[in-house]
């Protein structure tokens, strides 16, 4: 599978995750978010930025609790919980947010 954006072709896997992670940029994220029916707000970008930073260092998406805590520290304690993340990304912070952040799909019992 693949999609074209601004004259560039982006290959994706069956679930729509970018195959080549280096191809990611904000336009791609915006495009993928639109596909998911999401309106990207600053709060959405905070999550994406954190996921990318974490992935850069650890080569894996963070545990959900690490993500919620980080978001709580950035955006205020009342937002540091799973419910807030699911409000932002109804498809799940691990899967949907990872897709938009250009991370590979988490595999396993998740």
């Amino acid at each position: 599978m693949a999609f074209d954006l601004n004259g560039v072709t982006y290959e994706t896997d069956e679930d729509g995750y970018l195959v080549n992670l280096d191809q990611w940029n904000k336009d791609v994220a915006q495009y993928l978010a639109t596909q998911e029916g999401l309106d990207m707000t600053d709060a959405h970008w905070e999550v994406v930025d954190f996921l990318r930073e974490y992935y850069d260092e650890y080569k894996i998406a963070p545990m959900i609790r690490i993500l919620t805590k980080a978001i709580g520290q950035k955006l205020g304690k009342e937002k540091g919980n799973t419910k807030y993340l699911y409000d932002l990304y109804p498809g799940g912070p691990a899967k949907q947010a990872c897709k938009i952040a250009g991370l590979p799909k988490p595999t396993g019992c998740v």
Partner: protein
């Protein structure tokens, strides 16, 4: 975004529906990629002579596993199993009746392995060649079986459809028809050490996070160590425990229990996975390789005991198969079972009055327990018959004031699958997963309405992931799903009785 999956309204009753032939014939797991298959020693893609190769391999399996041949021969079509499968109840597709699922293999068996099937016309024997169409059915419906074994409990002959599914998947892998979800994950666990692909430095970071978090919340220095040589206990958890919620809350609980027991423990970055999908694909060699990492890690770290976390199918592998796969465990302390389930460890401590517990910490929860298939029907626990049912319940009752059972036809050996077991916990099968949870969701709904249950505890990583994902489709909040050791974690008073 994916279209919303149509769900039935929960009534609290489990009704057996009328059939809808072909309702789920289009469900198809993503096929494995060439490198997924090859890494496990299977052909990268479907081989040219797949028919002959599949029939030949079926013959080998029939010779190797006598039970499989018996299962092929002895079904009398009494129909007792027909309405016992959650996937049939949820999807109405008659091919999801266990007897019909077996028939997909049995008709091929008749054709190639019985005298009547070889000689007489198929219309008389119900035999069938392994055609393209039959293989398409195999791939679809043998990936609509979570290998939960509920049907086998009701079969007068004990025919085990799970074993038939495992054999079918093994035959398909053998000719290059693999399923991506299982085979990709098996590659990861064999390369990185866990299904998620968490590398050692990331695992370390996660464990440090848990340590700091517990310190912040409780003020206590509870350790969550990794790769510590000379620890008494190697703890092997499903890797979802290092990633998901509510899994991590259970893992946090294991650490508190060890802390209170005064037992030194460690996880291994080399063997940071208890799950073993080798069982789901029915491949002995792969199952052995995955398990072997745990033996190697235990020897390398010099531990005296192996304790395992909350993972249903892996407990079956550990309890029933480890000794053959990676035994003997003569290098471990013979005073303890190998492996020992974390529930056995915790209950033993509770019984010896070694844990100070504050049950009121769980007073906001009215709890029920979901028995996971492979624990309920594929293993035992503790030292008494039925221990796999009693041990977890005894722990819950020790840490919670309010406990309620679901309908007796849906618990213990009659438990309904979560709908995501057996290698089906993948997004492209979401429709099946949402439908497959229906009987469990109804049984849960009944105790929610009648007794105010708001928490369903369990000891399986797949169950937890599946329920948190699919129950909201029925209006049941994901927070209902809890790890058993999360309840323990809430109730443990740290520093209460160290060293007992």
């Amino acid at each position: 975004m994916a279209a919303k999956i149509e769900t039935e309204t929960l009534t609290g009753d489990i009704n057996i529906p009328s059939i809808q032939p072909g309702a789920t014939a289009h469900y198809k797991s993503n096929p494995a990629k060439e490198d997924h298959n090859k890494f496990l020693g299977f052909p990268g893609a479907r081989v040219e002579n797949w028919r002959e190769a599949a029939v030949e391999h079926m013959g080998e399996l029939l010779g190797k596993y006598k039970s499989l041949r018996v299962f092929m021969d002895i079904c009398v079509r009494c129909g007792s199993c027909a309405d016992k499968c959650h996937y049939y109840i949820g999807t109405r597709d008659p091919n999801n009746m266990p007897v019909a699922r077996q028939e997909l293999m049995r008709k091929v068996y008749r054709k190639y392995f019985t005298p009547a099937g070889k000689l007489l016309p198929d219309s008389l024997t119900g035999a069938s060649e392994l055609t393209e169409a039959v293989m398409t059915e195999w791939y679809s419906y043998f990936h609509q079986c979570s290998q939960c074994r509920r049907c086998s409990v009701y079969c007068p002959y004990g025919i085990d459809t799970a074993e038939v599914s495992m054999a079918a998947r093994e035959i398909m892998d053998h000719v290059g028809i693999g399923q991506k979800y299982c085979n990709e994950i098996l590659g990861k666990v064999l390369k990185v050490g866990n299904n998620l692909g968490i590398e050692p430095h990331a695992l370390k970071n996660t464990l440090e996070f848990v340590e700091e978090d517990v310190k912040e919340v409780t003020g206590a220095d509870v350790r969550y160590p990794m790769d510590e040589k000379g620890a008494d206990v190697l703890l092997v958890a499903p890797s979802a425990d290092f990633f998901s919620t509510p899994h991590i809350e259970g893992f946090t609980g294991y650490g508190k229990v060890f802390h209170e027991a005064g037992v030194s423990w460690t996880v291994s970055s080399y063997a940071s996975e208890f799950a073993n999908f080798g069982m789901f694909i029915g491949n002995y060699d792969t199952m052995k390789k995955v398990a072997q990492r745990i033996r190697d890690a235990a020897l390398d770290l010099g531990v005296k005991r192996i304790v395992v976390g909350e993972c249903g199918h892996a407990w079956r592998v550990g309890y029933s198969f480890w000794n053959t796969l990676i035994g003997p465990f003569d290098f471990l302390d013979p005073k303890y079972p190998a492996p020992q389930h974390i529930c056995e460890f915790t209950l033993d401590l509770i019984r010896r009055d070694g844990l100070k517990l504050d049950k009121s910490a769980n007073d906001e929860f009215t709890v029920t327990f979901h028995d996971s298939c492979n624990v309920a029907r594929g293993s035992r626990m503790g030292d008494m018959p039925g221990g796999q049912f009693e041990v977890p319940r005894e722990i819950i009752k020790a840490v919670c004031n309010k406990y309620v059972e679901m309908d007796q036809n849906t618990i213990r050996e009659f438990t309904y699958c979560c709908g995501g077991g057996g290698g089906l916990l993948t997004d492209e099968l979401m429709d099946l997963r949402v439908k497959g949870v229906l009987p469990r969701a109804n049984a849960l709904k009944e105790v929610m309405d009648r007794h105010g249950v708001n928490t369903m505890a369990m000891i399986c990583a797949i169950c937890k992931a599946q329920f948190t994902k699919v129950l909201p489709n029925y209006g049941i909040p994901m927070e209902t799903v809890a790890s058993l050791h999360q309840l323990v974690s809430n109730a443990v008073v740290l520093g209460g009785k160290i060293g007992v």
